[in-house]
Each structure stands twice: as structure tokens, then as C-alpha cells.
């Protein structure tokens, strides 16, 4: 009897009549199955039935019979559920009987972890224009067996049959081989039938378990079809890449990661060369300088005399007490007394005779605001600025410079109807002619030199001279009853050009 067992580990009885030849494969393991099979070499004496025993080397145990393999007529035994310990060495014994006589006995040892040849994996072949692709599916192999180290132990070959020509390929299996493995066979002859077989080959070449062949006729396809499909695929790929790129850029721009907007003010825009070459002058601004002039005057003593006897006196100087008038002295270029009706222009020629019209210090270059002058304009709305000068102490040395610096004057409005005008001279009977604009909003603040308060004096340019000859004056309110000022009379004379001359007969009052 010939038993198919592992070489060097077999013994048999009855050597005088039988010879033992080891025929491989000794055991066929179909994935997780452990099936021990045997074959007879000498067919002269054929047992009618067989019985299988086994034991292990790690323990001194007796041989155990395999219950499913007692007096069997087949020449194989399924030991999947018997030989479960893959780390142990099993010793098996197969005894062939003919009726009850023991004809042959074979023993062998098996170390399951390394003795099992792997069944070939499933695979598919696809024929292309100039090559054949072999896709090996490793999922069909037991994952406990299949790992890269194990495959180093077993090599994979792909045989290529071309007629009678057999070519073996040894693909390099690296990385994770638990999934599919693809291998390409190129350099093929067109219109030729090729067959492929896949198997795992252990180091021992006698333990090969090859897969059945799969054949295909290699026919190169028309290049136009492949080129068209390649072109279409390339276009689609390019379109997708472009779309992804554009969307990425848009998203980055939207979130502000790129192309940040710099909305700088125009003044920080230095890109215009003309700005560097021809710097634009800043727009002219109306600048007015102000100089506060302190004039030491006697404190105005308000006589809060509510007696009836003082009414007349109070009435005589209404600008001081009655009606809330505030007495201010007007310092300006005084026209000579003879020029009672002199125009403003005339007054400008008599600058030497005037106390002064002070200029604000250090600002004699104030540009004149464009537009009509204060005493000339008639159409502007109320509250427009008039040129004026600040009153200066008569004792100031700058008196002589006032006329020359008349342009840098502060401007403010004085309601002539609400102020008292009094000439600075002692001429009691002189008449003071006031030239006031027709608009009631324009006011002139006059200053009383006898006052001890500081005040701002409004004068005008050359045209805004307010000639007056008598420091004493009588203040009249336009709303006051004329009867209250019985000793005064005034009349307005229209001089034309919008000026109204108000002639006021003043009385000296203290």
C-alpha cells in the first residue's frame, strides 16, 4: 500500500509485499478543511476498507481512532473538526484491511501550520488592446493563512499558455494583499489565444495546487475607440479639475482668504502718479483768526434803582439798563464829522485819524472769503458773516497797524436795532449817521469806551465804517414806542443800493 504522506515521516508494515511511495500532495486542505487522503502505489493487493488513527506529539497520549473514518472504503478522511490545533504536531496512522486482515499500515506526522498548501484564489482575466489584465481575488483565501509573510513562503505564479509555450510570471505581492491584486501581461501576439492559471506555490515545489486555466483570445481593439474614450475621459477629468479649482478659488475669495479688498481712503491712494508729481493743494478753507482783546474798563455798575425818580434817567440811558440793552462801544475808523453821509468807502481813506482797527496778531494773511461782503450782500440769509475787527486798547501800539491788517478780522453779526450807537466824541449835538444794511439780521455791536467790560467790536472793511460823532447816544428799539424816546427822533432815508440811513438825533445821556 502506498500512503500519501509527508516524506521522511512515514512508515509502513508489510514491506516484503508492498512498497511505499509517497505521492504528493500528501494532504489537501481546502481552505479551512483538513482532509487527509492516501493512494496505493502497488495495486496488486487492494484493501477493502480503511481505518484512521491519530495522536499528538506534545502529550504522551494513545492513538485515537477517527470515528468518521472507521472501515471506510474511500481513500480520504475529513479531519477538519479533529485536527483543530494548528500549533501541534499530529501523527496519523492509516490501516488498510481486507475483510478482517490488516494488509497495510501507514503513519505520518503533520505540522498543520506549515504543511497545508493553499488553494488557488479566484481570478478574472480581461483582454485589452495590447495586454491582458489578471485580477486575482484574495478574498477567497482564508485570511488566517493569507498574509504577506505567508505568501513569502508560498509564491504565486501566473502561467501563460500560448499554444505549447508556458511562461511563468512571479508577481511581487507587497502591501495589503487581503484585497484584489491586479497583474498585467503585455507583449502579446494579436489574435492569439492565451490561458492563465493562478496558484500559490510553497517553497517545496511538490506542494503546488494550481487553479484551472482560464483562456481568452487576445484581439487588439480599434485605436479610435480607445482614443475616443480616452479623449472623452480626459475632457471630463479636465472639466472636473477646472470646476474644483474654480470653486476652491471662489470659496477662498468669498471667505476673504485671498484677494482681500483694500478700501483705502482716497487720500491713501498713492497709485496716481499725478498726485506725486503735481500734488493737489488742499481746498482752501475759510480761516478766521480771532484775537481776544482785553480792555480794562470800569466795571459797569448796574444801578438797580427801582425808584420812580430814576425812571427818567434810566430811560435816558436805556441802552444801559432798560430793556436789556448792553452798551458797547464801537471802535472803528471814524469818518470825520462832516462826512455824515459818507459811504463806507470813504471811510477807508482816513485810517490815520482813527484809533485803529486792530488786526489779530499773527494772522494777517487770512484769505478773504469769496462772495459778497457783509455790507454789500443783500441776498444772503441771516447770519452771514461780516468782516469785523476786534477792538483794541487805544493805548496799544498796534493802532497804527490796524488799517493795514483790516482784512484779518473776526466777523460777527450785530443787530443794529437792538443796540445803542453812540459816538465817541463829546459833541452832543452831532448827529450820527449810521449806515446799516437793510436786513434786520445784521447787527453791529458797539462798544462804550466808558464801559469796563471787554467786548468784541465788529467793524467792517473799508466799507463798513460806522461814522458817528457823538459818543452819547440814544438807544432805540424798533419795537419800543416812540413815545418813550420823546427826545429823539429818527428817520430812515433810503440811499439806494439797499442801504438805509438811519438818522438818529442823539442826546447826551449819562
Amino acid at each position: 500500500m502506498v500512503g500519501t504522506l509527508i516524506p521522511q515521516e512515514v512508515s509502513s508494515i508489510g514491506e516484503n509485499h508492498f512498497s511505499l511511495i509517497y505521492i504528493f500532495p500528501p494532504m489537501r486542505f481546502r481552505n479551512l478543511q483538513s482532509i487527509l487522503s492516501w493512494e496505493l502505489k502497488n495495486h496488486s493487493v487492494v484493501p477493502t476498507h480503511y481505518t484512521l488513527w491519530y495522536t499528538i506529539m506534545s502529550k504522551p497520549e494513545d492513538m485515537k481512532v477517527v470515528k468518521d473514518c472507521i472501515n471506510i472504503t474511500r481513500s480520504f478522511c475529513d479531519l477538519t473538526h479533529v485536527w483543530v490545533n494548528t500549533t501541534d504536531m499530529y501523527v496519523s496512522r492509516v490501516v488498510g484491511f481486507r475483510e478482517k486482515a490488516e494488509l497495510v499500515s501507514c503513519m505520518g506526522s503533520f505540522f498543520l501550520e506549515s504543511d497545508r498548501p493553499l488553494d488557488p484564489p479566484e481570478f478574472e482575466i480581461v483582454s485589452f488592446t495590447n495586454h491582458i489584465s489578471v485580477n486575482v481575488k484574495f478574498q477567497s483565501v482564508d485570511p488566517r493563512i493569507l498574509n504577506e509573510e505567508e505568501l513569502q513562503f508560498y509564491l504565486a505564479f501566473i502561467e501563460e499558455h500560448e499554444g505549447n509555450s508556458v511562461k511563468r510570471h512571479q508577481p511581487q505581492i507587497t502591501g495589503n494583499i487581503t484585497e484584489n491584486f491586479n497583474y498585467v501581461i503585455d507583449k502579446l501576439i494579436p489574435n492569439t489565444n492565451y490561458c492563465v492559471s493562478v496558484y500559490f506555490e510553497p517553497k517545496d515545489p511538490r506542494k503546488i495546487n494550481r487553479s484551472p486555466l482560464k483562456c481568452t483570445l487576445f484581439q487588439p481593439r480599434r485605436e479610435s475607440e480607445s482614443s475616443e474614450s480616452a479623449t472623452i475621459g480626459g475632457i471630463i477629468t479636465l472639466f472636473l479639475i477646472t470646476a474644483v479649482f474654480i470653486s476652491t478659488v471662489m470659496i477662498l475669495k468669498r471667505i476673504g482668504y485671498i484677494c482681500l479688498r483694500n478700501d483705502f481712503p482716497k487720500v491713501l491712494n498713492f497709485r496716481k502718479l499725478s498726485v506725486w508729481v503735481f500734488p493737489e493743494l488742499p481746498p482752501l478753507e475759510k480761516v478766521a483768526t480771532v484775537e481776544v482783546i482785553h480792555i480794562n474798563r470800569k466795571k459797569k455798575v448796574w444801578n438797580y434803582n427801582y425808584d420812580d425818580e430814576s425812571d427818567v434817567e434810566n430811560e435816558a440811558a436805556p441802552c444801559v439798563n432798560s430793556g436789556g440793552y448792553t452798551k458797547h462801544g464801537l471802535m472803528g475808523r471814524l469818518c470825520p464829522a462832516s462826512t455824515t453821509s459818507a459811504s463806507l468807502e470813504d471811510c477807508s481813506d482816513h485810517s490815520a485819524e482813527e484809533p485803529y482797527l486792530p488786526e489779530p496778531k499773527g494772522d494777517a494773511e487770512t484769505p478773504m472769503a469769496p462772495g459778497p461782503g457783509p455790507w454789500q450782500s443783500e441776498g444772503t440769509s441771516g447770519g452771514y458773516q461780516t468782516r469785523g475787527t476786534l477792538q483794541q486798547d487805544p493805548t496799544s501800539e498796534e493802532d497804527s497797524d490796524s488799517t493795514e491788517r483790516s482784512e484779518g478780522r473776526i466777523v460777527f453779526n450785530v443787530n443794529l436795532n437792538s443796540v445803542c450807537v453812540r459816538a465817541l466824541e463829546d459833541d452832543k449835538d452831532s448827529e450820527v449817521t449810521l449806515m446799516s444794511p437793510s436786513r434786520p439780521e445784521e447787527t453791529v455791536v458797539l462798544e462804550d469806551l466808558n464801559e469796563t467790560e471787554s467786548s468784541l467790536l465788529v467793524a467792517s472793511e473799508e466799507r463798513t465804517q460806522l461814522p458817528f460823532t457823538d459818543p452819547s447816544m440814544e438807544c432805540l428799539r424798533p419795537q419800543d414806542a416812540p413815545s418813550d424816546q420823546s427826545d429823539t427822533s429818527e428817520s430812515d432815508v433810503d440811499m439806494g443800493d439797499g442801504y438805509i440811513v438811519r438818522q438818529v438825533n442823539l442826546k447826551k445821556f449819562n
Binding site: 515521516e9 506529539m57 504522551p60 494548528t86 500549533t87 504536531m89 505540522f111 501550520e113 513562503f153
Partner: protein
């Protein structure tokens, strides 16, 4: 500034983890490859186990080895190193009665020494930490196991059957080593 530092730290940790995992994966690959070679060399040593059934001995492998999946990486390293060291010691004993090829034995010893060299730096680092759990007691049991093997060889006067039994034990040991190596990845 803080986010930039945190980002760099995170990158460093990821790379460190990758480097560490890569080193264990490389160690695992090297160990498994070497163990397969050792098993192959062992199988090349001729023996007839069916003739030595009477002198079989039950050498009790530590029970912890049957549940090696519960080992930590540090414990697995310690056990691996100890087993390799003990197998190396046994294979250096007298095997002249077996007729085995000295070349094959030398190749076996070279493979075992190479594996120990790969494990020694890690094993020393683990020993310095002195944080033993299962590995500590398991190593003691392994020492006892291999002592029994040595005593068996000595009692059998290093005959061929004794070495046949040793060969079967070594094949079992290498199977255990292969499983322990797999647990290095977990």
C-alpha cells in the same frame, strides 16, 4: 500665535505616533519573516516522530501563553525576548546523535540572534520602567518551562528521540512566537 503653536504640536504628535506605529509594524514584519524562516529550517531537520511516541513528555507551556491576546505590547516584547533567548540556549546543546546539519543549526542560531537584536533595545527600555504586569510572572513560568526541556534532554542523554521531541516543541514555540508578534500591532 497660540493656534500656530497648537497646530505644530499636533503635527508633532501625529508624526510621533506615526513613527512609533511604523517602528512596531517594521518590528512585527521582521519578526514574522524571521519566525517563518526558523520554522522552515526546523522542518529541514530530519526526524521520525512516530518512532518516539513512547518517550513523549508533556512539557506544560505557561497557561498565560494560551491567552497571549491579553498581553500588552510591553509584556509581549518581554515574553518574545525570553523565548528567543531560551530557544537559542537549547539549540546550542549537543545534537550530535541526531545527524542534523550543523549549517542548518547555525542558520537557526543566526536568525534567533537577529531577532533578539531587534528586540533588545525595546526590552531594556521596558525593564528600566519596572512596570510589569502579566509579563513579569509569565517570564518566570517560561524560565521554568525551558528548564524542564533542558532537563529532559539531559535525562535522555541528548538522543535522537529527545531531539525529535525538542523539534516538535520548538515548532510549537515558533507558532506561539508568531501569534505574539501579531499582538504587537494591536
Amino acid at each position: 500665535m497660540t493656534y500656530r503653536c497648537l497646530f505644530r504640536i499636533a503635527l508633532l504628535l501625529c508624526f510621533s505616533a506615526t513613527a512609533l506605529s511604523t517602528s512596531y509594524s517594521l518590528l512585527r514584519f521582521q519578526q514574522r519573516r524571521s519566525i517563518n524562516v526558523c520554522q522552515k529550517l526546523l522542518r529541514q531537520l530530519p526526524s521520525t516522530p512516530q518512532h518516539c511516541l513512547e518517550v513523549r513528555m508533556h512539557f506544560q507551556v505557561p497557561e498565560e501563553m494560551k491567552k497571549a491576546q491579553k498581553f500588552r505590547k510591553e509584556d509581549a516584547i518581554l515574553v518574545l525576548y525570553e523565548m528567543l533567548q531560551q530557544i537559542f540556549g537549547i539549540l546550542t546543546k549537543d545534537f550530535s546523535s541526531t545527524g542534523w546539519s550543523e549549517t542548518i543549526i547555525e542558520d537557526l542560531l543566526v536568525e534567533l540572534h537577529g531577532q533578539m537584536n531587534h528586540l533588545e533595545p525595546i526590552q531594556k527600555e521596558i525593564m528600566q520602567k519596572e512596570n510589569f504586569t502579566i509579563g513579569d510572572s509569565t517570564v518566570l513560568h517560561l524560565k521554568n518551562y525551558y528548564f524542564n526541556l533542558g532537563q529532559y534532554l539531559k535525562s535522555m542523554e541528548h538522543n535522537s528521540c529527545a531531539w525529535t521531541i525538542m523539534k516538535a516543541e520548538m515548532l510549537r514555540n515558533f507558532s506561539v512566537l508568531k501569534r505574539l508578534t501579531d499582538y504587537l500591532l494591536d
